[in-house]
């Protein structure tokens, strides 16, 4: 983010939300930063801590985030930030009527992260979309295929270095096995 927000994340913020404090207590090594820009509570965690933090968020009664609301990534290439990718997880708890954003930063040459598809069923397609659009590999995902683009598509369109006007080659017609000719003469 900008200068202002980066400093907020590194300083000790007295206005850290309850969840931020809770996560810092439970995962002292996992939490690397936080902010609450415009009231959206955000916690940055280490990549290795993702699975255990998510499990904690889902199962602990102080969190009970029943809904995995959204999963996406941000390519920060043009913001000149390193590491390049930022994974964004949005959660919603109906019990406590609150939201949380979780972030994990990934380097360009090592954009791999553990899949959390076994915690929420919604994650399966979200991770496929994120893989499709950003080329981030979710380790342990059962079916990591493209979802919006076709299999032969080259590159990952939401990366900032994918030109918006790039053209992909036309595909050859695929051979399919035809069982019926439906009156056509071949």
């Amino acid at each position: 983010m900008s200068e202002e927000i980066t400093t907020k994340e590194t300083e000790v913020n007295p206005e850290a939300g309850d969840l931020t404090n809770l996560l810092q207590e439970e995962f002292p090594d996992g939490v690397t930063g936080f902010h609450a820009h415009r009231g959206d509570e955000t916690v940055v965690i280490e990549r290795d801590a993702l699975e255990s933090v998510c499990r904690f968020l889902r199962d602990d009664s102080r969190c009970s985030f029943e809904i995995m609301m959204d999963l996406t990534a941000v390519d920060r290439l043009e913001m000149k930030e390193t590491p390049r990718f930022e994974m964004i997880y949005h959660f919603k708890s109906l019990t406590h009527a609150r939201r949380l954003r979780l972030k994990v930063r990934l380097a360009e040459d090592d954009c791999k992260i553990a899949s959390i598809h076994h915690l929420w069923k919604a994650v399966n397609w979200y991770e496929r979309e994120c893989f499709d659009m950003f080329g981030i590999h979710f380790e342990g995902h059962p079916d990591l295929r493209r979802i919006l683009m076709y299999d032969e598509f080259e590159g990952h369109p939401l990366r900032k270095d994918y030109p918006i006007d790039k053209q992909q080659p036309l595909l050859e017609l695929k051979e399919v096995e035809e069982r019926h000719t439906y009156g056509r003469h071949t």
Partner: protein, 408 residues
Amino acid sequence: MTGMSALQSRIEGNSSGEDFSASIMSIEIGPAHPAMHGIVRFTTHLDGELIVGMEPEIGYLHRGFEKESENSKWIQVIPYTDRLNYVSPLLNNIGYSMAVEKLYGIEAPRRAEFTRVIMGEISRITDHLTCLGAVAMEIGAFTFFLWCIKAREYLWELVEEMSGARLTTNWTRFGGNAHDLPDGFLSDLADRLSKLKEVMSECDKLLTRNKIFIDRVKDIGSFSKEDALSFGFTGPLLRACGIPYDVRRSDSYSVYDELDFEIPVGSVGDCFDRFLVRMEEIRQSILIIEQAADKMPEGPFMTDERMIHYPDKKDVYGNIEGLIDHFKLVMEGHQPPAGEVYMPIEGGNGEMGFYLVSDGGGDPVRVRMRPPCFNLVSAMPAMTVGHYVADIVPIFGSVNMIGGELDR
């Protein structure tokens, strides 16, 4: 439930080593098929007429909304949002504009918010009418469909009166709306609402207690609360499962906390519950519109913050500040302060969230829209396996997949 036991015996049969593969038939439904709303493909695996497996394939309508948006100015994204959920375009406009307002840390004037509530609820009604009508038509109730389209037409005329277009509305701006209420709009609105209520009571008589209809939708596509939450359901489908989650109430954005309305919930989440929830939501939306029209405050419909709203023409031509603001807004675009926000609103199908990232420049770094029906379509296998082929039609109809929103 005979379907489930037949499925069970089939699965057990397979595990015992017997080969039934010859009797499992795969049928492609879609991409272009009358029962597919928009373009989507289901590869169904059938044992006779019983569905034993299904794989949805989406992406046929992918137009790169997010990529286009990230290569546009902030304000240029608004027309693109019309094309997301194209049966309720005003809700998309409102959601995106509110997200950018959150990024700026401003709020639209009260008159603008009340107008947004009215137009948003009108859009929600058109969305629900389209869904209900399509479901009913596909299972044979053609009259109901025509009645719904008739009612929708009344509302689209109001949308046209307000924004100048029926679908490509492009109506909101950051910090307000493009237009104030046109002359005589509120009396037109009251007139249309009374017509709508009449149509709704006729629709109610046509289907709600109709045995043929109930036989087709009752206990079809039932979904447990736990599964619905795990799949990330929101909107009418989650409420049909019995969970009263509505973003209008839980996040009480805009002026919804000043308006009195109820959140209808179902019990088992089958297609009939979904039908009833949507019917009741239309009635509640009518109540919301009436209250908002009564409470409509006087005042501006657009914020007067500099560098957010385009200055009036008399200022552009009359003084140097107006000219500079206009020039900079046109050439460099809006420049929301650096930061990131997630702004959820209750769309027609559920929680429509915009996640925006700004680096303080004129181009968005990230525009992400959480499509509510993405989760619903991903749960199609879970909803249909164990049912018969003919049940795909009401189940998929009540999911109300909108291609523009699903594939973006």
